[in-house]
């Protein structure tokens, strides 16, 4: 197959290292594979097309051979969406980097699907512009990956999700036909939202025209402490309902608030082990009693920290909106903690939330899930998930991506993943396999409990990370009869059933 793909003029490889790299993403499952040195889903070949015609040629070739084609971007997914669960061709989009064109006058950037987010943002910054899309995966995620998963970034309260930024796109469907949507008004059902978020199961994105904005020269940031999560949620909701559009609106649960250094106490030692993974033995010991840890966290002072940030213009620094927001928060019993509390929380967010590698190496697993719901259900949904998993994993939560109608809840679940990486490396392959099996079982139990609670409470199972292979068992409960519409779309856009099979129930 590699030779045949090469004959199409496309670079391709069957080297073990390439197949290994293309066999995983950043999901907890994949990180457990990495620790166990396992490669459960190697593709048959990896291909690097450089333009839309080459993508179309590969898809037509795959259709002819009835071989799966799995598009992959930066490998930052957390749902297994780009894992070739049925083998076939991994179509790596990172060489789809046609020259970036920025039209500042009309606020449009034309960009290839393989462009890395950080590179795009740096290029725009040089011209005084921004896309306003800053997911945690910005340093290595691709534009095509964002489109395929309907990504949302940390500034979504102001700029919206990636779907709000797309004017038009170019893509290749499962028949190998090139689709090019229009910027302007069109008739009938809108094609774009039916393909955005389809996770490579309906089409492969090759480029997009995106709305860009003037880069804000200044930013106003504050940390605001509320006596309870309920008060914090009310404050955040009322800021959004007042028509204000903060660039940052993150509400941390009491533990996160402590970790951000904004609570009245220092973090108790057992909980610190959970954060940094520095003490592997102590960490694994702690995680044998997650209920105890969760009860310990429950006993902490209930303060919740809201971090608010507004973007200013060249004439004002956002303080006017900020002052109005502080007034609204004050009415919800929020107390201004100043600039430092806000900035410190932002600086620590990445460190405390996404330090996955040391935790996995120490023998834990970290599963990050993102749900969404309306304001009236937000707290109840969070409580329900906590209750569902409290005896299985340690739970931390953050509310973000606020809109006037609701928000997302980002949950980090920390559980016992088995032996430490060093011990695995010293042991036999059989031991590693057994350890992996046990860890996967524990992780599956936790994720199943959390997603069951989400669907029972009426929340959506993914706000911005997609469904992939990991969450699809709950998609039927989420969509109900909509699964029939989903399958109709699959027949329409992928008549040969070759695009990313085994995802989204397709």
């Amino acid at each position: 197959m590699r030779r045949e793909i090469s004959a199409l003029g496309v670079t391709a490889s069957c080297d073990a290292a390439d197949l290994w790299a293309a066999s995983r993403d950043c999901s907890a499952a994949a990180l457990l594979w990495t620790k166990a040195r396992a490669v459960p889903h190697p593709p048959d070949v990896v291909a690097w097309p450089e333009d839309v015609e080459q993508v179309a040629a590969i898809v037509r070739f795959a259709a002819q051979r009835q071989v799966p084609v799995v598009p992959a971007g930066g490998g930052t997914g957390t749902s297994g969406g780009a894992v070739a669960v049925r083998g076939g061709i991994v179509l790596d989009t990172k060489r789809l980097t046609r020259p970036l064109h920025v039209d500042l006058a009309n606020r449009v950037a034309e960009v290839g699907a393989g462009v890395i987010g950080k590179r795009l943002e740096e290029t725009l910054a040089q011209q005084g512009a921004t896309l306003g899309h800053c997911p945690v995966s910005l340093p290595s995620a691709t534009v095509g990956g964002w489109l395929a998963t309907r990504s949302a970034g940390m500034l979504s309260a102001r700029y919206g999700c990636i779907a709000d930024m797309v004017l038009s796109f170019e893509a290749v469907d499962g028949a190998g036909e090139i689709l090019r949507t229009l910027d302007g008004p069109s008739g009938g059902p809108d094609l774009s939202p039916l393909l955005l978020g389809s996770e490579g199961t309906l089409a492969i994105f090759t480029s997009a025209r995106l709305r860009i904005w003037p880069r804000p020269p200044q930013r106003w940031v504050r940390g605001i402490r509320f006596p309870s999560l309920a008060d914090g949620l009310r404050g955040m909701r009322d800021v959004l309902r007042a028509g204000l559009r903060p660039a940052i609106a993150h509400l941390h649960d009491p533990l996160d608030t402590l970790l951000a250094g904004a609570g009245p106490l220092r973090v108790p030692q057992p909980l610190k082990w959970l954060v940094d993974g520095a003490q592997a033995e102590a960490l694994r010991l702690s995680l044998r009693a997650p209920l105890l840890l969760n009860r310990l966290a429950d006993a902490l002072p209930s303060a919740a920290l809201l971090v608010l940030g507004f973007e200013g213009t060249s004439e004002d620094d956002g303080a006017r909106e900020g002052d109005v927001a502080l007034g609204i928060c004050d009415a919800a019993r929020g107390e201004d903690q100043g600039v430092v509390a806000g900035e410190r929380s932002l600086a620590s967010a990445d460190r405390v939330r996404w330090m996955k590698a040391p935790l996995f190496a120490a023998g834990a697993f970290v599963e990050t899930l993102d749900f969404a719901t309306t304001w009236d259900r937000a707290e109840a949904l969070c409580v329900a998930v906590r209750r569902a998993v409290e005896d299985l994993a340690f739970v931390r939560a953050r509310f973000a991506h606020a809109t006037p109608q609701g928000c997302a809840i980002e949950i980090a679940l920390l559980g016992l993943g088995g032996a430490a990486a060093a011990a695995i490396a010293r042991g036999s392959p059989e031991d590693a396999e057994a350890d992996l099996e046990e860890a996967q079982k524990r992780r599956d139990t936790v994720v199943t409990a959390a997603l069951s609670a989400v669907t029972d409470e009426g929340g959506t199972i993914s706000h911005h990370s997609g469904v992939g292979a990991e969450r699809q068992l709950f998609l039927r409960r989420e969509l109900g009869e909509g699964v029939r519409q989903l399958r109709a779309l699959k027949k329409a856009f992928d008549p040969h059933g070759i695009l990313n099979p085994g995802k989204l129930l397709l």
Binding site: R107, R150, A152, S156, R158, E177, I178, T181, L182, G184, P185, S186, G188, P189, P193, L194, L196, G197, S198, E199, T201, L202, R211, W213, P214, R241, A242, G243, R245, T313, E321, V324, A372, T373, T374, W375, D376, A402, T403, Q405, G406, A408, G459, H463, G466, V467, E478, L479, G480, E481, R484, Q485, L486, R487, L489, K491, A492, F493, P495, L504
Partner: protein, 367 residues
């Protein structure tokens, strides 16, 4: 069993309509589902209308589904800004109800205000509105849609989600062809006093450019109007956010000072005046609105960084057909009045004619 017999069994009211057609009025969403399944099984033509929508007759030997009885407002949650409503509910009735709860649907095109929720969402605007930040978003958080076999699909009401394709868009803007909207969760804004600002610009095209600049800097007003003046053009804008209106208005003023002159004495409701003559409603981008501007008045709704919905009228009450022709020549898409509506470029313009045909077949609806 005949079509009539089968439809009677759904619990819907039946009336002869048009040329051998039937007008079918289901009393409930469940009845609507059963009626749709019957119509699809008999493979007859189907049209849909809500209460207050433009008159539509049943197609010859076909069925007109009248959603006028599905007009219940199930709930209004002012704190979360969500109303749960059936598709046949009139927009005017819904606006009255949500106003009593301190909310509003926001400024809408006159043709939208005159129709039903279902017609708004399934119609040419797809329920899109301008939201603060110069974006457009559909008013529906989620819709309940009746599929061809009568089953009802409904997603979770969430502010955003990443659970595959946004299936609501099979119904939104689809005129009931792929799925019929039976109910929806509608996003509401807090009702607040409007803040207006008016400016004098050198000419009509520069007034459009000034407004585009405001929108491209994320300061889009809720509505705006551009009018030819004695020596140039007048631009009036209204902002409606509870706490954001004053901030956005002042920031817009700072942007406009370089190109326009502030008009302190223009009454605030000037922007709300009805359009004179026989206006047409269009979906337009800024270059198209600039191209139209020499011809006459422009009222704008749903403004965003790329353009707006607009009501365009020629002076001296010239006929709407004439306005529509000029609007099309400028590159806009006419969406009202209904008789002049442009279908707009469909999926074939994106190279997706084949997927469209396959989709019709897979969903079990007529080509």
């Amino acid at each position: 069993m005949t079509l009539r017999d089968d439809l009677s069994a759904t619990g819907a009211t039946l009336v002869e309509d048009g040329e051998g057609g039937l007008r079918v009025t289901p009393p409930s969403i469940a009845s609507l589902g059963r009626a749709v399944a019957v119509v699809r099984a008999h493979k007859v033509l189907l049209r849909v209308r809500g209460s207050g929508d433009a008159p539509v007759n049943a197609p010859a030997s076909g069925v007109l589904l009248d959603l006028g009885s599905l007009d219940r407002i199930a709930s209004i949650d002012a704190a979360s800004g969500i109303a749960r409503v059936e598709a046949g509910c009139g927009i005017a009735a819904l606006e009255s109800a949500v106003r009593r709860a301190g909310c509003t649907l926001g400024p809408l095109l006159p043709s939208v205000r005159a129709g039903s929720v279902g017609a708004w969402l399934a119609g040419p605007t797809r329920g899109l509105r301008g939201v603060p930040g110069a974006r457009r978003e559909t008013a529906a958080l989620t819709v309940a849609a009746v599929l061809a076999d009568g089953r009802i699909a409904e997603g979770r009401a969430a502010p955003a989600k990443a659970v595959g394709p946004d299936l609501d868009h099979l119904a939104l803007g689809g005129a009931g062809r792929l799925a019929i909207i039976a109910a929806a969760s509608i996003r509401l804004f807090p009702a607040t006093p409007a803040l207006a600002s008016a400016w004098s610009c050198p000419d009509l095209a520069s007034a459009v450019s000034a407004l585009a600049l405001v929108c491209q800097n994320r300061l889009a007003p809720a509505r705006a109007r551009i009018l030819a003046g004695a020596d140039g053009a007048q631009l009036a804008m209204v902002w409606e956010g509870l706490e954001s209106a004053g901030i956005d208005r002042d920031r817009a003023a700072h942007l406009l000072r370089a190109s326009c002159s502030f008009l302190p004495d223009v009454p605030g409701n000037w922007v709300r005046d009805s359009a004179d003559g026989h206006p047409v409603e269009v979906d337009a981008r800024w270059p198209s609105l600039r191209a139209w501007s020499p011809h006459g008045d422009v009222h704008l709704f749903g403004l965003h960084a790329g353009g707006a919905f607009a009501m365009l009228a020629l002076p001296e009450a010239r006929p709407a057909d004439e306005s529509a022709a000029l609007a099309r020549a400028a590159g806009t898409r006419v969406i009202a009045p209904r008789r002049l509506r442009d279908a707009g470029p469909g999926w074939e313009s994106a190279g997706a004619a084949a997927p469209w045909q396959r989709l019709l077949e897979a969903l079990g609806v007529e080509a």
